[in-house]
């Protein structure tokens, strides 16, 4: 496979935008990305779009050509990818594969979700459809409930505490407060995080990611052509997408995501690095427990040590391995179909040195981890400065 580079990024702010429709969000991110990459719509050879549930949330199907056409991108393959909350991570994986294989040179990858036009119980029901609707979903499981059951088991097996979960929320809100594009720019205290309204015990509202509207986009070219467009290309060093059973009750050990572990090992191997080489990461913290499990599955710490790692501040902006400097899904927001590509944008911004107040000192190699459902799809990407 030939090396692939990210040469452009573009994101909308994440939030609740009652006067914005799905297409306008996706188009805003796409055009920002094209401008950043110095690429004209007519140069784009394929459009890959991640979107979880546009048809359910806003009643619109056939989304990829619908959005591409509004950007004056026509005549080329335009395809939507659905893999629950890993929809745009999956779109990105397949776009990298196509550019790497030599099918195309200039490819736009987008992700979008418009969630806030539905009331919360309806959103909860639509999201539950990413689980097994003949089993757990039929019995009344919600996504917070599935991750609450993971948290309960993690607490039981490893002694993880409510304080450790809350520490993840406090840290992510501190980061998000410094991110001008974050949905909830609000610092919270440990007391607040521990006293939140219960959602699915032991998870409270402060353990759960936000229901957001938003879009993100990145532009890919083969590395050999990157300098035609930009003087700050970022290379895709390693990437893998893996899968597992959809139903949580079909997984042998629910305190780990097997698909994430496998994707990480494959991506590390492809990049020729180990977990120790990763300086910072954007991980899929849809719930506080998910960030703790991710730090274990990615090999940053041993199994069961993710809770103390967070509580001790190791993942904070000034810690040894910052996680979710964007504020993560908790504070930046989680328009589910946009999240995977937004994570790539956030890692690329750090590598380019464009993260503003959140800019890290060590920023030459970063990782993005995107999770679908309760671990049935995983995408792990390792990005590094190309020069």
């Amino acid at each position: 496979m030939r090396p692939v580079a990210v040469i452009g990024i573009g994101k909308t702010a994440f939030g609740a935008f009652p006067d914005r429709d799905l297409r306008s969000l996706a188009v805003e991110a796409g055009l920002k990305c094209l401008e950043d990459a110095h690429v004209k719509p007519s140069q784009v050879e394929a459009f890959y779009l991640g979107n979880f549930a546009g048809p359910s949330f806003v009643g619109q199907n056939h989304l990829a050509p619908y959005i591409a056409g509004a950007m004056d991108i026509t005549g080329v393959p335009c395809t939507r990818f659905e893999a629950a909350c890993a929809s745009s991570g999956s779109a990105f994986f397949h776009a990298v594969s196509a550019v790497g294989a030599g099918l195309y040179d200039v490819v736009l990858v987008g992700g979008v979700e418009k969630m806030t036009s539905q009331p919360t119980p309806k959103v909860t029901e639509i999201l539950a459809g990413a689980g097994d609707m003949c089993g757990e979903g039929r019995a009344g499981a919600t996504f917070p409930a599935l991750f609450a059951m993971i948290a309960r088991r993690h607490m039981y097996q490893y002694g993880t505490t409510r304080e450790m979960l809350a520490a993840v929320a406090v840290k992510n809100h501190a980061n998000g407060a410094k991110n001008p594009q974050a949905h909830m720019r609000k610092v919270i205290t440990m007391e607040q995080a521990l006293g939140g309204k219960p959602i699915a015990d032991p998870l409270t509202v402060y353990d759960c990611s936000l229901i957001s509207d938003g879009a993100a986009a990145v532009l890919l070219v083969p590395l050999e052509r990157a300098t035609e467009f930009t003087d700050k290309p970022v290379r895709v060093l390693g990437i893998a997408q893996t899968s597992d059973q959809v139903a949580l009750d079909q997984k042998e050990d629910i305190t780990t995501f097997k698909a994430v572990k496998e994707a990480a090992q494959r991506a590390y191997k492809m990049a020729g690095v180990t977990a120790n080489d990763i300086q910072f990461a954007e991980v899929h913290g849809c719930f506080t427990i998910a960030e703790i499990v991710a730090s274990e599955d990615l090999g940053f710490v041993k199994k069961g040590e993710g809770g103390p790692y967070a509580l001790q501040g190791c993942t904070a902006l000034n810690g040894p391995r910052p996680i979710n400097t964007s504020g993560g899904l908790k504070s930046k927001g989680h328009p589910v179909g946009a999240t995977g590509v937004a994570q790539i944008c956030d890692v690329v911004a750090q590598i380019r040195g464009e993260a503003g107040e959140r800019q890290l000192q060590r920023h030459s190699i970063g990782l993005a981890q995107n999770l679908g459902g309760s671990g049935a799809t995983a995408v792990v990407t390792i990005l590094g400065a190309a020069a």
Binding site: A141, T142, A145, M149, A200, D201, Q250, I254
Partner: protein, 70 residues
Amino acid sequence: MSGTIYTETLIYAAPEQFVNDAPYQLAIVTLEDGRRLTARIAEKSGGRVQIGDKVELAEYRDGIPFFRKV
């Protein structure tokens, strides 16, 4: 049908069709043959459950298995 509670949660924020049931307890039960099943807990007849509790099938309601503490 009986088994052991592998994990559980108490759901406060329910999906649209179960809003009137909330809060309700949901669990993954490890059955005697090792298979796992997601089920509701019949709290009225047996109370709430914790990891490790022994449970048995109380009834099916609309196709949903309800287990209760033994």
